[in-house]
């Protein structure tokens, strides 16, 4: 039975490995996209502009309150229509089809971004205001303060929270299998169907996810240690 997992013509090892690579690719891209949304969302929430704050508030409330599957379905079934509607405004009338990868990354990134927004906002607010004042008093301009004072400190405070967001994002990628993208879950589903060994393949999938989450936990612990270098331990 275990030879079904082997590499070679009769085994699913190769496909499972490719699926794992696809899961990692989707998770990493979504997480990075989410960081981008998160930075923007946090900036909007902390800005003086009421409209920007409102938009960011609606974004985090709605995306965090609605099932992930629903967000993915919405973009999967409606994404092409949305892009075509935008294209029509610019005078393009043809048919546009988005591939499963970009829809997956867009939807999981959107979800990941809502959680990142809160993490980054909290971290920015944790940087003592006196340090910003001190930097200003030294004559630094806004960008220099951002680069030298705010970002390095924010990173330190945000890392544990971002570690959680990464775990959520990694597990959310399993939901993209409903769009038939060949990641771990989809490959296992297909393999389970054609070999009639669902238990074997789904437990293999579980083991692969467990491996990914465990390895990334260790990576985040390392990153935290690096970001906290030079900080006195209690």
């Amino acid at each position: 039975m275990l030879d079904l997992l082997s590499f070679g013509p009769n085994g699913w090892g190769g496909q499972l490995l490719a699926g794992t690579a696809m899961t990692m690719a989707v998770a990493l891209s979504s997480f990075l996209l989410g960081l981008l949304f998160g930075a923007g969302g946090a900036a909007a929430k902390l800005s003086q502009n009421v409209a920007l704050r409102g938009v960011a508030e609606v974004y985090t409330t709605v995306v965090r309150g609605v099932p992930e599957l629903l967000v993915i379905y919405l973009l999967f079934f409606g994404g092409s229509g949305m892009v075509m509607a935008v294209a029509r405004v610019f005078g393009y009338d043809g048919y546009i089809e988005l591939n499963a990868f970009s829809i997956g990354v867009a939807s999981v990134g959107l979800i990941s971004g809502a959680y990142s927004t809160e993490v980054i906002r909290g971290a920015v607010q944790a940087v003592p205001f006196g340090q910003i004042e001190a930097a200003r008093a030294c004559g630094m301009n806004r960008w220099l303060i951002l680069r030298r004072v705010l970002v390095p400190q924010t990173l330190r405070y945000a890392l544990p929270g971002l570690g959680n967001v990464w775990q959520l994002t990694l597990k959310d990628t399993a939901l993209i299998s409903v769009t038939a993208l060949a990641e771990i879950m989809r490959v296992s589903h297909v393999a389970a169907g054609s070999t009639r060994q669902p238990f074997l393949f789904y437990s293999t999938a579980a083991a692969l996810y467990l491996l990914l989450t465990t390895v990334s936990t260790t990576a985040f612990e390392r990153a935290e240690r690096y970001a906290n270098r030079g900080v006195r331990r209690v």
Partner: protein
């Protein structure tokens, strides 16, 4: 945007709310029992019990819920022994499989919340209770548990909302709860946005009410924090 269709779909989709609530309610109730047992065993000091429950929590928190649902619904039926056992009438039904998967999932997360809350009970309170002559069980029932439950409520509120959202995965094993019904209606009407927006609004409403309920429980349990009238 087809507003008429949207309005028409509200009562139809609202008809699926009871099933969603049943799934969530059953999972939360059974999950609480699992979480309670797991947290106690992890704190028991017994190496074997702590190891087994620790592994359970590690596996269920480290893998996606979708895998857990598929493993239970499609995976368990593979074994002759399961199909011939008394449990088969249950494990054959998507409803029971969904409840089982959600229960085990929320049990793992909730046990961690509960464990942290139990560990947060100030030691002085336990010493004081012992000094009053309370037995171990009485200390646990009268001091540790009430303090811990109050302490865990904010985190548990998040878990309740996560479960409401997680119940949408039951649609992948043919259950027609809100998400499942929404997909079915879309396959008949092709109105993706209208239907999904209504479905999303229903989930938001449920989550809003759930978070209010937890806030109320928190308010009820902390009379000493309220301003004296």
């Amino acid at each position: 945007m087809n507003w008429e269709l949207m309005l028409d779909s509200i009562p139809r989709l609202a008809g699926a709310v009871p099933l969603t609530l049943e799934l969530v309610g059953a999972a939360l109730a059974c999950g609480a029992v699992v979480a309670f047992a797991t947290a106690l065993l992890r704190l028991s000091g017994n190496r074997v019990a702590a190891g087994v429950t620790g592994a359970y929590v590690f596996v269920f928190r480290g893998t996606p819920l979708l895998v857990q649902i598929f493993l239970i619904y499609y995976g368990l039926g593979q074994f002759e022994a399961v199909r011939e056992s008394v449990l088969w009438p249950f494990l054959r039904e998507p409803m029971w499989c969904a409840i089982l998967a959600l229960t085990l999932n929320t049990g793992a997360y909730t046990s961690e919340i509960l464990r942290g809350a139990i560990l947060s009970v100030p030691h002085g309170q336990i010493e004081a209770a012992r000094a009053c002559g309370m037995s171990r069980v009485l200390v646990f029932r009268r001091i540790i548990l009430p303090v811990a439950i109050r302490q865990m409520l904010p985190a548990y509120g998040n878990e309740v909302i996560l479960m409401v959202k997680a119940s949408s995965l039951a649609s992948t094993i043919t259950m027609l709860e809100i998400t499942g019904l929404a997909r079915k209606i879309i396959s008949q009407t092709f109105a993706v946005f209208e239907i999904f927006i209504v479905a999303g609004a229903l989930y938001l409403l449920i989550n809003f009410l759930a978070s209010r309920l937890v806030k109320y429980a928190e308010w009820r349990m902390t009379p000493y924090l309220r301003a004296r009238a």
